[in-house]
Amino acid sequence: MEVSSEYAVQMHGITKMFGSFCALNNVHLDVKKGTIHAILGENGAGKSTLMNVLYGLYQADAGELFLNGEKVNIKNPNIAIKHGIGMVHQHFMLVENFTVTQNIILGNEVTNQFGTLNMKKAREEILKIVEKYGLEVDPDAKIEDISVGMQQRVEILKALYRGVDLLILDEPTAVLTPQEIDDLIQIMHNLVSDGKTIVIITHKLKEIKASSDVCTIIRRGEYVDTVPVADVDEEELATKMVGHAVQLVVEKTPANPGDVVFEIDNLTVKDERKLDAVKNLSLKVRKGEIVGIAGIDGNGQKELVEAITSLTKAESGTIKINGAEIQNTTPRNVIDHKISTIHEDRQKRGLVLPFTVAENMVIEKYREQPYSKGGMLNSSEILAFTKGLIKDYDIRPEDCENQAARGLSGGNQQKVIIAREISNEPDLLIAVQPTRGLDVGAIEYVHKTLIRERDKGKAILLISLELDEVMNVADTIDVIYAGTIVSSFKQGEVDENTIGLLMAGGKINENVG
């Protein structure tokens, strides 16, 4: 591609190594001014790495970079900022205990003499931008107190405050509701019509179709193709992304629900700030059924899981498994009552990263025979058990039993957890965000495993922020809003928009049903 000032960004032949690992190999990207340009690829394909090179966080080992037709060398984010590049990272780069204003001005402060902060003036400047683009936020709120959607606006404001011409959005919709996604796409269009250029990194095909003009596809660090979005459909994009044809819909037979195994009745749980996070929540899960809980982050999902697993106190209400009440006991007791949980936070709650895979496999069983006897561990039994699971669940590398769990890829770490929890042969399996951060292949695997366990007659509770996942996998869909289940549907009864509306606290017209 020729270098021209029509292009906001041109990256030619970019190669980036991390040690001996090649994250990017001779990748090209040409972004026309005033367009929304998507970069599509699986987790770990190198999308974020490419953008981090553009933003000066990483240095490319080879390749050239042009902005508006001029060759540039971006050695650090300061230079990127000077060139009018802004980036909204997937994991927000916000200081949690700072206010919105403090986060926005950081590094580019409004000051009086002697470096004293002029917060009043900073606030005014921010409010001006807020009004211009319709990005409503409270400049005095602390980040830890505002919603994820708000936090994302703060990130966009940070970029606008620095006068960006080119805005990079890294997986911006991962944490948003359908309505919030619509708002974001509207904001993106506002920005483009104001002359800005946007690069959006994503692995969600639907949003590319909804928002972008052009799409560049990367696979395993290699450049695949650049296509006008209007000319391709979702299946084509998916095939280019994964490298072979993929099924976008999860295959499964209708559920065959049996007796109620697990029942929550009128549960109320307080959060860290002593507010009701879960309020009078009731739900049931039957044998051979997957119940999915759809909802926006922060509507009580976290507290619900903590209450079920007895990490947090239930203020009132009951949680019953096979008729036995388990609320306000201990995590041990919950496990002993045959409830197993795949926690959303693999690294915090799921695994002890410095432990070996074998040690992680027995973290709930080490006290049982044959894994220990008389208080001493039986390492040969533990290893044999682990090797079996590694084989059954295709965990790689296949000889990883004595390796630290830290060294495994995210997908394989997740497999370790899934293998371990299912090997408990639970009556209820709780899966919280079980596919977070996994690539398409691994996601497919997790979904299939959940359905397989369902078909064996297990009761499964799936809690996910990915609405698609709940819609595709669950047999019963419960919508959680403000700590309570507001509606419950059978799969296929309603469409995504209805659920999205309910997730955001809206009401559906009662007459419809």
């Binding site: 900022i81 916000l94 001005i105």
Partner: protein, 306 residues
């Protein structure tokens, strides 16, 4: 009674001053994300440098400056280890606690004829001069100039951290270095500077012992104050005034033991001496509980690595 109270105030001020400097040093370092367990060693080096320079030059102010420089020089080691080499900050701090006193005593023996203490040095002045209310109870309020300097340092540090752009940047580096980095703030440089300032302040803390309280360096001049200062940092929730208050409480408890011990009470002095430490634990149980450190405190910042 009045004289007892004035005495109490005077001694509280006196004993808390070295702690205040040490704790402020801890605050600035940890606010930038570097745990500084080596305050004790930095204070010892400062205490020696202050006494030695004041003795040889006859100028206690030069001694004070030397103490800051010496504390900063030792802190540089800590910065190199924890920022450049991303080493374990606790280990490096403990090493500083060996190297600091080791160097201080080593050079003390070299310069002072193999003795482990310096000869008496010129001390810093009192705030109202030498003759103010001498002998009267109000004389207790004629505190060392270091007392005022410590208070000033706390105010300046507070203003710096919360009212200036550099303070905002320091705090962001300690909370979320990656966020700071993406906004073009140099994390390494910020941490280097904060650790150096931490050493300088700790050095002043040492000097306020040997140039005001005991007027010479001895092997026990600094014995545990650095660790108490460390506790004050946590106790004071990593804020300048919080740490200042914690040091005052500690100084007060110590003053209480001295005032009570000197009087007609039948409590053995050793039991009284435990008071500040027991009091601290009780206060922690009653009022503080879980304190929240800066999020990135103690964590080396890695970028560009997978």
């Amino acid at each position: 009674m009045l004289s007892k109270i004035l005495l109490l105030i005077g001694i509280t001020m006196m004993y808390s001053t070295p702690l205040v400097f040490g704790a402020l040093g801890g605050v600035i370092s940890e606010r930038s994300g570097v745990v500084n367990i080596g305050i004790e060693g930095m204070m010892t080096v400062g205490a020696f440098a202050a006494a030695a320079v004041s003795y040889f030059t006859g100028n206690p102010w030069l001694g004070l400056l030397a103490a800051g420089a010496a504390g900063g020089a030792i802190a540089l080691l800590h910065a190199i280890a924890s920022v450049t080499f991303k080493a374990d900050q606790t280990i490096s701090g403990i090493a500083i606690n060996f190297i600091g006193p080791g160097l201080a005593l080593f050079f003390c023996r070299l310069l002072f004829d193999n003795a482990t203490m310096t000869l008496p040095a010129h001390t810093l002045p009192k705030i109202f001069g030498e003759d103010f209310f001498q002998g009267s109870p109000a004389g207790n309020l004629n505190v060392d100039v270091t007392v005022v300097l410590a208070l000033a340092a706390a105010v300046i540090l507070w203003y710096f951290l919360y009212k200036t752009k550099w303070g905002l940047r320091v705090r962001s580096v300690g909370e979320h270095p990656a966020a700071a980095d993406t906004l073009g703030i140099n994390v390494s440089r910020t941490r280097y500077l904060c650790v150096l300032v931490s050493g300088v302040l700790a050095g002043f803390g040492g000097a306020s012992m040997t140039l005001a309280i005991i007027s010479q360096f001895t092997p026990t001049a600094i014995s545990g104050q650095g660790f108490i200062a460390l506790a004050a940092v946590i106790f004071g929730k990593w804020t300048p005034f919080g740490a200042y208050g914690a040091c005052m409480l500690f100084g007060f408890a110590q003053a209480l033991t001295i005032v009570l011990g000197g009087g007609d009470f039948a409590v053995p002095s050793q039991i009284l001496a435990m008071l500040p430490y027991i009091l601290t634990i009780i206060v922690l149980i009653l009022f503080v509980g879980r304190s929240v450190a800066p999020k990135a405190d103690g964590l080396p910042y890695e970028k560009g690595e997978r």
